[in-house]
């Protein structure tokens, strides 16, 4: 049975990983979804760039790009063409091979993330039963590419940016994973499709603290503001891609947005009910939710200043990590207690969970969280 054509049926039955009996086996499926994913990612990135630039423009009391095409819709295309036609400049002292390889290494994992994200019920490249583990494993591989870029550029700004990025990823992986575990506990599966199916009510209501932690850690992971230290333009010029131009820069630009879309898609899948929703077709629900999450990222980027590297670390280890552990324990207790799945009990749960969020965040920031000293005697 091929999941491509039979959306919404196969999830009750466990599907063994045997090749279907049509010619080509999994290859058609693979080909179809690879094309779909690349098209989807590229389109979504363009949409994201458009939303980011226009939305940010309007929030900053200006218009944003509005000259290319109707409402400036073709601006991402124009940007892409411009960047393709640019000269590719490589610094003389750069490590040529690594410099060339870095964008590719960064770009591939960003695409690979989408392999396990369900666009509709069962509509995904590989319904891995360890989907979320796969995501956790793959999402930090981009860092290798970014560090390669920073190292190979032989530029001190690039190196600083790359170092910051590695430090941030290493720290933020922990609360990120722990926040996911809460969801996995409730859903009882590691497969993203199963998690979506388990969400009769979006998990943001059952896991508000988990959502908050995941959003913060996710933003840090993909270096969106206020955690955009690795390309902090006012401090280290452009961070790791200072020395990149032309198509290679475009790749990094693409990675940045593809990762943002990926995180938004994961948040949608884990917390917002994925493709589920009334009236509209599932894929439209999915895209809408992704864009809504992305808009929130744009919104925070427009408003918030950037935090410092030691504060970033402090936030990860002293704030997000303990809260994530507490969240995990509370979720485990809730799951073990196995509250009845009826409406009044669910409402109580929602209220309890939000209260826990508010109380924990306030208590922690008031009594336990200290940023520490910023100055070091030299």
């Amino acid at each position: 049975m091929m999941p491509v054509l039979n959306f919404g049926i196969h999830h009750q039955v466990f599907i063994p990983a045997v090749p279907p009996d049509w010619p080509g086996g999994f290859w058609w499926h693979w080909l179809f979804f690879t094309v779909v994913i690349i098209a989807f990612v590229l389109t979504m990135v363009m949409g994201a760039i458009y939303i980011e630039r226009r939305g940010m423009g309007r929030m900053q009391s200006r218009l944003g790009p509005n000259r290319t095409g109707p409402f400036g819709l073709l601006q991402p295309v124009a940007d892409a063409i411009k960047v393709l036609l640019k000269e590719n400049i490589v610094p003389v002292k750069a490590d040529k091979l690594v410099h060339w390889l870095a964008p590719v290494v960064a770009f591939a994992p960003a695409l690979m993330l989408f392999a396990v994200i369900p666009f509709q019920d069962g509509a995904l490249l590989a319904d891995l039963n360890i989907g979320i583990l796969y995501i956790v494993a793959i999402s930090s591989v981009s860092t290798v590419g970014i560090f390669m870029a920073g190292w190979a550029s032989s530029n001190k700004y690039s190196l600083l940016g790359a170092m910051r990025n590695v430090a941030a990823i290493v720290s933020y992986e922990m609360p990120l994973v722990l926040a996911i575990v809460g969801v996995v506990l409730i859903a009882g599966s590691l497969s993203l499709n199963r998690i979506v199916i388990a969400q009769d009510i979006p998990f943001i209501l059952l896991q508000p603290l988990g959502f908050f932690l995941f959003f913060a850690a996710g933003c840090a992971e993909i270096n969106r503001s206020p955690f955009d230290l690795m390309e902090a333009d006012s401090e280290i010029v452009a961070g790791f891609h200072t020395e990149y131009s032309g198509m290679k820069f475009a790749m990094f630009y693409l990675v940045e947005y593809a990762e943002a879309i990926a995180i938004a898609a994961i948040i949608t899948t884990l917390f917002l009910g994925g493709w589920r929703g009334p009236l509209l077709p599932p894929w439209l629900w999915f895209v809408t939710k992704v864009m809504a999450v992305f808009f929130t990222m744009v919104w925070t980027r427009t408003t918030l200043p950037r935090i410092r590297i030691d504060q970033l670390m402090a936030l990860a280890w002293k704030f997000l990590l303990p809260l994530a552990v507490i969240n995990l324990i509370i979720t485990a207790i809730q799951v073990l207690a196995s509250w009845p799945d009826t409406l009044p009990w669910t409402l109580v749960m929602i209220i309890v969970n939000f209260t826990i969020l508010a109380v924990l965040v306030l208590l922690w920031s008031k009594f336990f969280f200290r940023l520490g000293w910023g100055r070091i005697e030299v």
Binding site: M56, M59, Q60, S61, R62, K156, Y157, L160, M163, R164, S225, P226, D228, L229, A232, D233, S234, E235, I236, V237, R301, T302, T303, L304, P305, R306, I307, R308, I309, D310, Q311, L371, G374, R375, I376, E377, V378
Partner: protein
């Protein structure tokens, strides 16, 4: 700190997004920590002081526009005060009031840029900058209306101002003064209590009271360190003794205090404009001053409270049509004296924030 690391040198600038012009800092970093910095100037050196020795007294006014190019009116005023002191020229009443209005409008505009750029350095992605520029645009509109230029106003003359304000100026100014406090409140809401900004700016880059005085810091930098010293009240020039206003001061002398002092000063400037607007008398706007001024032999120092600090002109006359020596006391340059002590031990990110909170204009540093 058992890990032994090797410091490296990073040249920040002259082309860098947040060095506010062509300014260069030769920083020695140990990882992210700033071990040492050496500011390097001179990329915008135009020899204004030497040029001034070859120009007529009136011809220097356009030059002063180009010192601190975001507060041209204050520069014009400082220079004209010095020449008036040197030549003993009395300025008509109306001109004095117009000067005060223009100088205060310019001060608000300059502080808007200072605060916007500071918040931008903190990493707020251009949003405060854009909002501040929107307000500055309104001021620039007003100043364009009276002077005909948007940046280098060249409006204040020796013995008054170049021409009277047009009749549509006062109503527009009234609207502006009525609107502006609302906008300042909005900026306060935007970032004043933001936790991230507090974490980034509070306690960062502390300049103690003693050191601020010893380093001859002036303006908001000095006041943020808790020194109640504003030349408008300490040594009133023009007609500032007729207005009521407070001097906002900080307590700690960190970046956040400097930011807060600037925002508070905008409100005080609005108060001054409001008073000046209501008291504005009719009359001539320029004293009878010859085209080529020949002040008697002597010297004069006139200083005023520019947005950056104490801006002074030290003029020596030899009774010719050009000054024998024209020295400019640049507040931006002197405020930077303490930069090294302020940033040592902080991170690179703090270096940018501290530097942004001092608020310099390279046109004035290098002259």
């Amino acid at each position: 700190m058992a890990l032994k690391t090797e410091p490296f040198v990073l040249n920040m600038g002259p082309v860098h997004p947040s060095t506010h012009g062509v300014f260069r800092m030769r920083t020695t970093l140990d990882g992210e920590v700033v071990v040492d910095i050496e500011p390097i100037f001179g990329y915008l050196h135009r020899g204004v002081e030497k040029l001034a020795e070859q120009r007529t007294y009136t011809g220097i006014i356009p030059l002063t526009d180009r010192l601190d190019y975001i507060s041209s009116m204050n520069n014009n005023l400082a220079y004209c005060l010095a020449v008036e002191k040197l030549a003993g020229i009395k300025v008509p009443e109306r001109a004095e009031y117009l000067r005060v209005i223009m100088a205060e409008l310019q001060r608000i505009a300059a502080f808007l840029i200072a605060v916007g750029a500071f918040l931008n350095d903190c990493g707020a992605f251009f949003t405060p900058f854009m909002y501040m520029f929107r307000e500055r645009e309104k001021i620039v509109d007003l100043l364009e209306m009276v002077s005909g230029q948007r940046l280098t106003y060249n409006y204040i003359r020796v013995g008054g101002v170049s021409q009277d304000i047009p009749e549509e100026f006062l109503p527009a100014l009234r609207t502006f003064v009525a609107q502006m406090p609302g906008f300042i409140d909005e900026y306060d809401r935007l970032l004043m209590q933001n936790e991230i900004l507090l974490a980034r700016a509070k306690g960062v880059g502390i300049l103690t009271r003693e050191q601020a005085i010893n380093c001859a810091a002036s303006g908001p930098v000095l006041r943020a360190s808790g020194v109640k010293w504003d030349i408008r009240q300490a040594d009133p020039y023009s007609i500032y003794d007729r207005f009521e206003f407070d001097i906002p001061t900080g307590t700690v002398g960190d970046c956040y205090d400097r930011y807060r002092v600037r925002v508070a000063e905008m409100r005080q400037s609005l108060r001054i404009i409001q008073q000046a607007m209501t008291q504005l008398p009719p009359g001539p706007v320029k004293a009878a001053v010859p085209h080529l001024i020949r002040p008697p032999v002597g010297e004069a120092y006139a200083h005023l409270e520019a947005p950056k600090g104490e801006l002074g002109f030290y003029l020596v006359s030899d009774n010719s049509i050009a000054p024998y020596r024209c020295h400019i006391r640049p507040p931006s340059l002197i405020n930077l004296t303490a930069l090294r002590d302020m940033v040592r031990g902080w991170k690179v990110a703090d270096l940018i924030v501290i530097f942004g909170s001092i608020d310099i204009t390279v046109g004035e540093i290098d002259r």
